[in-house]
Point group: C2
Chain length 349, copies 2
């Protein structure tokens, strides 16, 4: 059925479709649904404690057979910079009124000793990283578990860097993708590359298989990505409206209403694609003064809480890829099966 079997053989899956790990919008239920369609399920761990990771992994292992991808952020937590944070809070306060100190936003944990212990215990078949790779000792421990290791690249240079670091496959994350950009050799959003250019260029530059991400929301896109040279696709936004996703009601409303998306760093401090909410329009989409990831979240934590209680996504991360209008409210298994079936038919004609 699939001409290029590299990713199928590498991960032990039926179809070259990976669930994008969407921290905050995806948990065990979505993973199970995608596994049932023959794709590779993912559990995003960036917002989970080790205990929560273990619980979610337990649910997935109980309800689905086959491989599992555990996904981690691996940013270096920034040095505290009180002056910068204070200036940012002042800017926010000037626009929206006083910003109370705390509560801070939920922490976004980089891959660390505790997370590595979860990997060593739970033995996921695949471990994926965003924002580069963890330090060599931690990476070696992951490799020693036998897990396949994959990571995101947003440029050819990042893809080559990852290949040299020994990853088993590279995710080419085109500019269309929703959520945080995996960029790690630089943070300049103005030069980020679209999926249509990035996938063939990365395919030419590395020997490992390439997984296309960004704008892959239906069978046409999956088929096109494989024609461009990808061995598989990673799909996220297409599942955001499915019942299995943890997408908030506000987020679901925004997806239904539509509106442009942009890469913005004013919500978390790192560039991520989402709807242009009030905050993004007022101080972004890119603002060089935003505190480093994930500290920018703190200044807006209380504003976000109040706005959400009021039904407004003004300060919330409302991530979405550029093909969000193709997302449907159907069960995720149905969505995944249709993408796979339509892609196979298009490639077969």
């Amino acid at each position: 059925m699939w001409q290029d079997r590299r990713i199928l053989d590498l991960f032990g899956i039926d179809h070259p479709l990976l669930l994008a790990p969407m921290a905050g919008s995806a948990g065990s239920a979505l993973a199970v649904a995608v596994a049932k369609a023959g794709g590779l399920p993912a559990l995003p761990c960036a917002l989970l404690s080790p205990e929560q990771m273990r619980a979610e992994i337990g649910v997935i292992r109980q309800q689905a057979t086959g491989p599992l991808n555990l996904n981690f952020f691996c940013h270096t937590p920034p040095e505290p910079d009180p002056a910068r944070e204070q200036a940012w809070r002042a800017k926010i306060a000037a626009l929206y009124g006083p910003v109370p100190d705390g509560p801070d936003a939920p922490p976004r944990r980089p891959f660390d000793e505790a997370a590595c212990a979860v990997v060593e215990d739970s033995r996921p078949e695949v471990v994926s990283f965003h924002f580069g790779l963890p330090a060599a000792p931690l990476l070696a421990r992951v490799r020693a578990t036998g897990a396949r290791i994959i990571a995101s690249a947003t440029t050819v240079d990042e893809a080559v860097w990852l290949e040299r670091s020994g990853v088993d496959a590279v995710i080419a994350q085109g500019a269309e993708a929703g959520g945080h950009r995996g960029m790690f050799l630089g943070l300049d959003t103005a030069t980020q590359t679209g999926t249509f250019s990035l996938v063939p260029l990365v395919t030419d530059a590395v020997k490992v298989p390439v997984i296309a991400a960004g704008g892959v929301s239906d069978g046409r896109a999956m088929a096109a990505a494989l024609v461009l040279g990808a061995a598989a696709v990673q799909v996220g936004t297409a599942f955001l409206r499915s019942p299995e996703a943890l997408t908030s009601t506000l987020h679901r409303k925004a997806l239904a209403a539509g509106g442009p998306t942009a890469m913005t760093n004013v919500i978390t401090g790192r560039p991520a694609r989402g709807f242009t909410t009030r905050l993004v329009r007022d101080v972004g989409p890119i603002n060089p003064d935003a505190p480093a990831f994930p500290l920018a979240s703190n200044a807006i934590a209380s504003l976000r809480k109040a706005a959400e209680a009021d039904g407004r996504p003004d300060f919330s991360p409302v991530w979405a890829g550029q093909s969000f209008s193709l997302a449907s409210e159907e069960p995720a298994t149905v969505i995944a099966e249709r993408i796979v079936r339509d892609a196979a038919r298009l490639l077969d004609r």
Copy 2:
């Protein structure tokens, strides 16, 4: 050979490949070369006087049979804004030293009475517009010649607007594309959409055939664009290094050297994708203070002239799409034939 024959029948061409009209880098020689490969040749007229247009059309008609696409900009020339221009000149002068008054940059002519007369005389089979469409009376005169009319859209809204205005096909210009963005319902580059998302979304939104542009530099990309729903592709950057292109030596050197591209408005006043030259890095890539198109060119005209004489592209428009590294120095007919052949093979398997 091609499953979707709409564009082939509409224009009377053998292969669904259009030469992108690259004002300043393409003239009759490149048009003839692409016509010989069975694609639709284009003559960009934005930088040509009516006399030059007639001369170039004469060469193409003499050396190639088949249809021809005459391309025009149709921006509304801006109201003079001396204060804004003076402030911009002062900003430039603060960085690079005194900016002598004049000479102004070569004018970029919008489609007007004189250009329309050329269309009426020379009877091109296709007329294409960038930056929207001309006023209704001029458009009606073009239509009365029997020419097929096409225009660029960078969003779904622009595509729907063009279809309602009666175009025969829409060019979906993805964010990867080099040169000026065709955007006309807004100028916000942060929300521009990649080819991979734009093509299927536009295909779903309009009934007229869609021509994919942006990142189409080889057979993989052409095949992928057709899989995404496009009826044809428009190819520009892939030809920039061919001997038939008018690309300057400086521009060719930049294409060979590589480096990131970005959408910038600091060279002409309208967003266009090109290499991040010194000017773009220093005051861009997007600067809200840049004078309106095409007036921004004036402040840097003398700096550009001096730098180019010195072999530096610091202030030159060095347009390139994101797949520029796939451009080769081969004859344009060879390039076009290979793109077509590779695409056909990929779609045929």
